[in-house]
Symmetry: C2
DNA sequence: GAATTAATTGAACGTTCGTTTTATTAATAG
DNA sequence: CTATTAATAAAACGAACGTTCAATTAATTC
């Protein structure tokens, strides 16, 4: 046998990507074999090498495009010139929506970094750092404007990102909570965590956080 | 060659555990070979099978003992009968201290669950759930007492745990921040996130969170 | 000091891995 | 209709994998 009727390179490549994201998320990159992946696509293992020269190239492609997608989504969602509270809200909403929509790809991008070569790891981390820097900038602007109360900008940014990304670990669409409810909760937790205010001197708490007490 | 001078089963087994935690954390369980592990210990691969019947038995042992250690640490640290704020503070402090101290083992326990058999996965998850339930209980008690302002207890517990455990991803002892500083920051972020109060009606915010605003 | 037990080596087993090569067929271009 | 290109199958490669087994030596017991 050789070329099969109806075979199409573009469709096959798309099927390979999709199956790879799902399989790597479920089994892990090292545990997934090229033969397993091929079987999932309905093809022989050798056919995969027409689209990706090595297994690692496949992984890197998935990760790079995931990070590019995240940066692109934020570029599209970011408010042009708004106050820190609005910008932070936009960041949280975009982050949650993007990660819930791409649970599997996020899993791959977060868990399989160690299977990348040094050079490619650096590339992916550079994109990740650029994305995180956006949040740090918002937090710093808000702190300088007296609208946020934050101990340490870098630490707070990491804590927020870990908290938000963690949603993919436990959240399953169609269960107890809706995406909108989850987003609203995370938004409210975020605003309270950073001590968001409208203006310095006002005493109305953000969300349901009232009557807090000094440590 | 055969038995080497000075060889000791207990010491070898301890060395195997230690090397395995470090190697699995760095390379991943699937990527670490038994020959690599043996070389790290300074022994032939066959010798490992004197202590662990299979590679998966080794992984499971590491995970189970990590979770048992976490539950034991919390049992020792938990305040007998205290108010929700104190109990929450104790939970956060214990969690951060334990996870910073055992970064590698935590990495293994969180990232390699999929390499466990169904039965063993269930065992580990049962312990993890028991640990998380402790936090949910504290949050619920605090909310019922009117000392916390929380949308959803389960969601908040997951968000807090993800946030706190995430410390092992970026924190490195001996760098910019000390363990004490990090702990204090996480404690303050936690208290603000849950809207902690001393008593309903008081208007003094916890930590630096003042002048918050309604969503 | 002989017998026994504990700890380890070295070699090998069958399997699976990522990848390459070659042949073959489907689709397309002239 | 023929020539060319695109897409795949089938088979094979050497290497590495987890694991087993028999032999060997150190430590311990009697």
């Amino acid at each position: 046998m050789a070329r099969t009727t109806g075979s199409d390179g573009e469709k096959t490549e798309a099927a390979v990507r999709e199956a790879a994201v799902s399989l790597i998320a479920r089994l892990g990159y090292e545990a997934m074999s090229m033969r397993q992946l091929a079987a999932e696509v309905g093809v022989q293992a050798a056919a995969l090498y027409r689209y990706f020269p090595t297994k690692e190239d496949l992984l890197f492609t998935l990760m790079r495009e995931h990070m590019e997608g995240l940066l692109a989504a934020w570029s599209a969602a970011r408010p042009a010139a708004a106050d820190p509270v609005s910008r932070l809200a936009a960041y949280v909403e975009n982050h949650i929506a993007f990660h819930i929509e791409r649970r599997h790809a996020t899993h791959v991008s977060n868990m399989e970094l160690r299977s990348l070569s040094h050079e490619r790891l650096t590339q992916v981390l550079k994109m990740r750092t650029a994305y995180e820097k956006e949040l740090r900038t918002i937090l710093r602007d808000g702190a300088e404007a007296g609208m946020f109360s934050i101990d340490d900008t870098g630490l707070t940014a990491m804590a927020l990102i870990q908290m938000m990304t963690g949603v993919i670990v436990w959240f399953r669409p169609g269960e107890r909570l809706s995406v909108a409810e989850v987003t609203a909760s995370y938004l409210s937790m975020t605003m309270r965590l950073v001590g968001a205010t409208i203006s310095h001197g006002t005493a109305r708490p953000y969300g349901r956080a009232r009557d807090a007490v000094a440590l």
